[in-house]
């Protein structure tokens, strides 16, 4: 057993906590600091539901230990928008009916958010490629790709 004190930034706020070394980042976000927007599906890096952005890059929160996030800047789905004021990407998901049960949605959003930061004008094919790392069992992929394209347009100000 080993516990460690960690200091990190989550959605712009400084967080200090003592964590057990084997605690993964997804469980830390959900259980230690109450950010349950990050979902836990497969816990072995396949489903993508726990995808968050760590130091600007998308990452599986179930495949990172919380201690590894010491000093890091973590962004979760809670950072995107609020129910009253959705982000462009969230609004596009709503407009396009890009979610049914919603379980995969946080991971989908954070993956597309990470993509749009490095590629402002992704093609349908590029979006499909990055979403190959996120499983949706309601099979809403077509609408999710549509929403990602809409969000990219909205962010470019061309829509």
């Amino acid at each position: 057993m080993s516990a460690r004190k960690i200091n990190l930034t989550v959605n712009g706020e400084a967080v200090e906590a003592e964590v057990e070394a084997r605690l993964n980042l997804a469980d830390f976000l959900r259980q230690a600091i109450g950010l349950t927007g990050t979902h836990v599906g497969c816990e072995h890096g396949v489903c993508g539901a726990c995808t968050v952005i760590v130091d600007g890059r998308p990452a599986r929160a179930c495949l990172m230990l919380a201690v590894q996030a010491d000093g890091a800047k973590v962004e979760t789905v809670e950072s995107l928008g609020t129910p009253e004021s959705l982000s462009e990407l969230q609004q596009a998901f709503r407009d396009r009916h890009a979610l049914q049960c919603g379980f995969c949605t946080p991971g989908m959003l954070m993956t597309i958010e990470a993509l749009l930061r490095v590629e402002g004008s992704p093609t349908r094919e590029e979006i499909r490629d990055v979403l190959s790392g996120n499983l949706c069992r309601c099979t809403g992929y077509q609408a999710i790709v549509d929403a990602a394209l809409d969000a990219a347009e909205a962010r470019r100000g061309t829509r």
């Binding site: 993964n24 816990e43 890096g45 993508g48 230990l65 993956t111 993509l115 490629d129 790392g133």
Partner: protein, 289 residues
């Protein structure tokens, strides 16, 4: 589906790492964690100590010299894919990386981790075989170089010894203008490949092949170079006969069978991907500049 308890260490220097390797029993090194953490979560492995090498500053990086490309073991797959230098000197690497895991795993996954874990379907160890890599390893008893032919010991088993770590991988550069081709077949995008192949070709001015390298992966427990075909290719012009010979040799490998795929189907696919990779490598427009 939660990792078993372990004692966590995060050394800040190579010396500290070597000290831990000398001292600790039943320790495991944590690189990008994209294979090891699932194994921990499944409790397939249960080390007493986990040594996280992510905070050792100088283990990552891409260095080019006249004859070689040296990749630090902790270089992330994301950074390999983004490197313009690497894309210019060894364009097959960027092409293959598109097949390595996913956008969300390449951000943390490393080349060294992949080469030490040695999944049979992994693309990066196959590229190491293609570029006649040398693995620079170190431990309490000093450093040593392992040639790629000695690196693959068996299923999920490299030549790295229990108290050693991988420092860097040295790839032999091919001349500007070489042809390259990469092909793999997986049931879904980002899945482990059932079979894959990579090919490099260097042509002389009279369009004859001066040098060839062909690797097949996902078929046997480790990547396999088709050395006989490579030798046959030298001095020839590219032809259907050459392609047929290469595909035949790939289809004669000692293919693995699993619950999804029979050995016969895997052998068939090995021939198909080898033919595709070589065909790509021979296309003049594809040759690197």
């Amino acid at each position: 589906m939660k990792a078993p308890p372990f004692t966590y260490h995060d050394p800040r220097s190579r010396d500290d790492l070597i000290g831990l390797l000398a001292e600790l029993e039943n320790a495991k090194l944590l690189a990008g964690g994209q294979s090891l953490v699932p194994m921990l979560n499944f409790r397939v492995v249960a080390p007493d100590h986990l040594i996280d090498i992510n905070r050792i500053p100088d283990l990552a990086g891409i260095r080019l010299s006249a004859n070689a490309v040296v990749l630090g073991a902790m270089t992330r797959q994301w950074d390999l894919q983004a490197s313009a230098d690497l894309a210019a000197t060894a364009p097959i690497i960027r092409e293959a990386l598109a097949h390595v895991g996913h956008f969300q795993t390449r951000s943390r996954g490393t080349i060294g981790g992949s080469c030490c874990h040695l999944d049979p379907a992994a693309e990066l160890p196959a590229l190491c075989a293609l570029f006649d890599a040398e693995f620079d390893v170190a431990g309490p008893n000093g450093a040593r170089i392992v040639k790629v032919g000695d690196w693959f010991k068996g299923y999920l088993e490299s030549a790295l010894e229990e108290r050693e770590y991988l420092q860097s991988i040295r790839l032999r550069r091919w001349p500007a203008g070489h042809g390259y081709g990469f092909s793999e077949y997986a049931r879904r995008r980002g899945d482990f490949a059932i079979a894959g192949a990579g090919a490099l070709l260097e042509f002389a001015e009279d369009a004859r092949i001066r040098r060839a390298a062909i690797v097949v992966f996902g078929v046997e427990p480790g990547p396999v170079r088709l050395v006989e075909v490579e030798q046959i290719l030298v001095g020839q012009t590219f032809s259907e006969a050459v392609l047929a010979e290469a595909a035949a040799q790939a289809s004669a490998l000692d293919a693995m069978a699993d619950v999804h795929v029979s050995a016969a189907y895997r052998r068939h696919l090995a021939g198909v991907v080898t033919r595709r990779a070589l065909t790509e490598a021979a296309r003049p427009a594809r040759q690197a500049v």
